[in-house]
Amino acid sequence: MTDNTTPHRIADTRADRGSARITYPNSLPRPEGELEALERVWAAPKGWRKLSVVNNNYIGVYYVGASFLFFILAGLLALIIRVQLATPDNQFIGHELYNQLFTMHGTVMMFLFAVPAVEAMAVYLLPNMLGARDLPFPRLSAYAFWAYFAGGLAFFCSIFFGLAPNGGWFMYPPLTSTEYSPGINADFWLLGIGFIEISAIAGAVEIIVGILKTRAPGMSLDKLPIYAWAMLVFAAMIVIGFPAVILATALLEVERAFDWPFFIAERGGDPLLWQHLFWFFGHPEVYIIFLPAAGMVSMIVPTMAQTPLVGYRLVVLALLATGFLSFGLWVHHMYTTGLPHLSLSFFSAASSVVAIPSGIQVFAWIATIAAGKLQLKTPALFILGFLFIFTLGGLTGVMVAMVPFDWQAHDTYFVVAHLHYVLIGGMVFPLFAALYYWIPTVSRQPLSERVGKWVFWLMFLGVNITFFTMHITGLVGMPRRVYTYPAALGWDTLNLISTIGAFMIAAGVLLFTIDLVRRFRVTDGPNAGNVWNAGTLEWLPAGDYQTRSIPEVRSREPIWDQPNLPEDVKEGRYYLPGTATGQRETLVTTPIDARPQYLLQLPGPNWGSFLAALLTAAFFMGLTIKLYVPAMIAGGLAIAAIFWWMWDTDHGGSDTEVDVGAGIKLPVNASGSVSHSWWGVVTLLLVVAMIYICLVFSYLFLWLVNGDAWLPDAARLPELWQPALSALAWIGSSIVVILAGRLLSAGGWVAPALLLLLAAPLLPLGIWLEVQGQLETGLRPTETSYGATVYMLSALQGVFVAAVMLSALFVVLRCLVGLVHNGRRASFDNLQLLWHYATAQGLVGLLVVHGFPRLVGMG
């Protein structure tokens, strides 16, 4: 690899604005046909084949559009709820439908609108903002979008059949256990939401690798746009937080389907386990939604004030601190569950400390507004509305973080008011600001300023009329989730006011939608342009290939600070002004200081990701409605479609290096720890590890609450030689895979493929030995929570091992057709990572199951 730390050769210079001499990586004029070739390889498919598109500028727009659709659908549910509550003793809808409506409203808003909307904005914005041609795994983005859209629509349609979940958006057992929710309504939530979270995690992997590896040269961490910092923290929080709810949904579904008693107190389970797992995800979820919105605000405020953000370093600190501290708050949703006072105090302390970073950001925005001259355009109005509403929500947040107050306000409309102030203020208003602000980058014309002001005032007044009133409704005693109330309680006027406010919000959203239909026209040609005079890269002239050339970044607002940048980028003076290999490409740079590392060939349109998404949705839907055979067929076909999409993504490295400008010659593609796919797999393994850690936590939690009754009297632990055999099988398989890797390095593919086939059966063998050993002791998963968690550890290992074996099959198939060899081994290297992780996870499981009871003297 060329040493890119040496000073760049000056390819072209020009004097600009009198004094500054600018050096350019590439000279003009550019070769004939260079731009046409770039346009050709990046062109999106036309007509019905557009469903197979993977370019982020299309998938991102689809994604934002789909999340907005779910926002409207969930909003319509809210309007029905408000009509029902507008008058006392109302019989507009019955209690059963009401239960489904409020459950679906919360669930759709949180899982199908809020998180996908901010992820969607990132899919669209990040490559443009970072100076990349696309995200590093475009087909994964397409899969994540289609899976979310198809799964989300199917989930939403359950309301039309009376099958929608009805246990509240947090689905607490025992209400949602089989005994009290025997139908499949709860299964729709558990399988539907569990599936949609896969999409969120896929997006998070994409975002982390994209931000760390595909930035424009020179965009070191100190020049990273604040939005990218926010999305990096956001994605890391998804990796840490979402596994908890994935495990929780899996445990509850397994309990409902197979009667394994994780949450049934009579058999050693504990409903509080669900609350711990759910809120370990659920509270950070608030910040998962808020931080991207805060990142957007930090981009919009400087532009609207025409001055750089005040306190960049402090805002980075605030984002990091909020991300971490938010994981110390989950029990603040459980203050009334009888936990010890001191335990509550730990969470109360963290709840108070997290106000500091939030406050830092608010003051940074106010200081930026004060330092510049704010243009009161529609995005700025929504920002001001956000500051007002979110600050009020934050203040009531500090109130409910105080244990004594929370005991009084818990489960009343005060909490409903608080959470809507935080979520609408903290996410919806910034999102509307962002839509008004960034639509000119994708549409031929911006949205109407005149209509925008009407939209803002209707929504701003509507939100305050609806939810400020709810604080009082809660303080005078109205509980949440009641479908009606008697007139004598004095809640009727307050509820009527809230309903009027809700319809004002709806009128604002309707007006916005009409304006969108009138003026929003997606273009792959010239867009509305830099209408706000913004300073960051997403405002450079762009096409399907993003920018014509990839700029070298020298400041946080390069368009403001680097004279003539848009024209120079458009003319091709900067890096990679064409296609160096005749395929889609982007630059991969180092994570800290953004030095060019290699040229990454990106995959183009493919039906595999689209089909895989639909089939995965069909698999989960089949499981939910208990059509097991069609579900299995859909699952098998989904795997085949994933194989198809993955087949041509490992291009391998080429022997020649390509010139990207400034004399920098880069290798094409890479393998090992430099490779983007290696980073993607490591991020994915963090998710898997978190799921497993949450299961180990569940085991220890149930041990703690059960005391001496944890290990049933009749049960005994297997002899130690039995887990030793399992360990040997797993360690042996890893050694064989290491050997296969060495043989691959030495040349040839036959022996490595054969060794993989030899090693593969050892993984399930280890699980079989472990399960067999437990069965011989008489332990059964249905009898006690101890048995359920012990077998669940093996079951989770089994799911992961199945994934590893499918990956091994994929690599062996590629070996057979000559697509794996020493120069093209990314898929093999990634398989090795998965394999060794499976071994490590299995060994940890054995230590927990066989070591922990002996350690505490129960074996």
Binding site: P340, L342, S345, F346, A349, I592, S673, L704
Partner: protein
């Protein structure tokens, strides 16, 4: 290998909050164990068990933060190049120190209730 070395500034930036996370996990797990096993009134070295353990854990966490701070201020020099490298170094150093400060505050705030609130009431 070169890649791993270059990730050190990010690791330093996050280190303070990782220490906070470890402290939080340990004190919460310890208090839960003490309460479910009825050990809240036990004494060790003449001190209340909860006060002693949470105090020691807090002191240890603050010492680790101090160690990281020293490493950042006097010991750690990233292998970065040129003027831009200096600016980047200044940025990572100052953000690391700010993160350490807020982590110390969070750890301290977390420990204080142990001396005010009964452990298991």
């Amino acid at each position: 290998m070169r890649e791993q070395i270059s990730l050190r500034p990010l690791a330093f930036i996050a280190s303070g909050l990782l220490v906070w996370g470890a402290h939080f996990t340990l004190v919460y797990a310890f208090n839960s164990y003490v309460c479910t096993r009825g050990l809240a009134a036990d004494r060790l070295l003449g001190m209340n068990l909860v006060h002693l353990v949470i105090g020691v854990l807090t002191l240890l966490a603050l010492l680790v933060l101090a160690g990281i701070m020293l490493a950042v201020v006097i010991g750690h020099r990233p292998r970065l190049h040129g003027t831009q490298g200096e600016a980047l170094h200044g940025f990572t150093q100052s953000v690391t120190l700010l993160v350490l400060a807020i982590s110390a505050l969070a750890i301290f705030t977390q420990a204080v209730p142990a001396y005010i609130v009964p452990a298991c009431a």
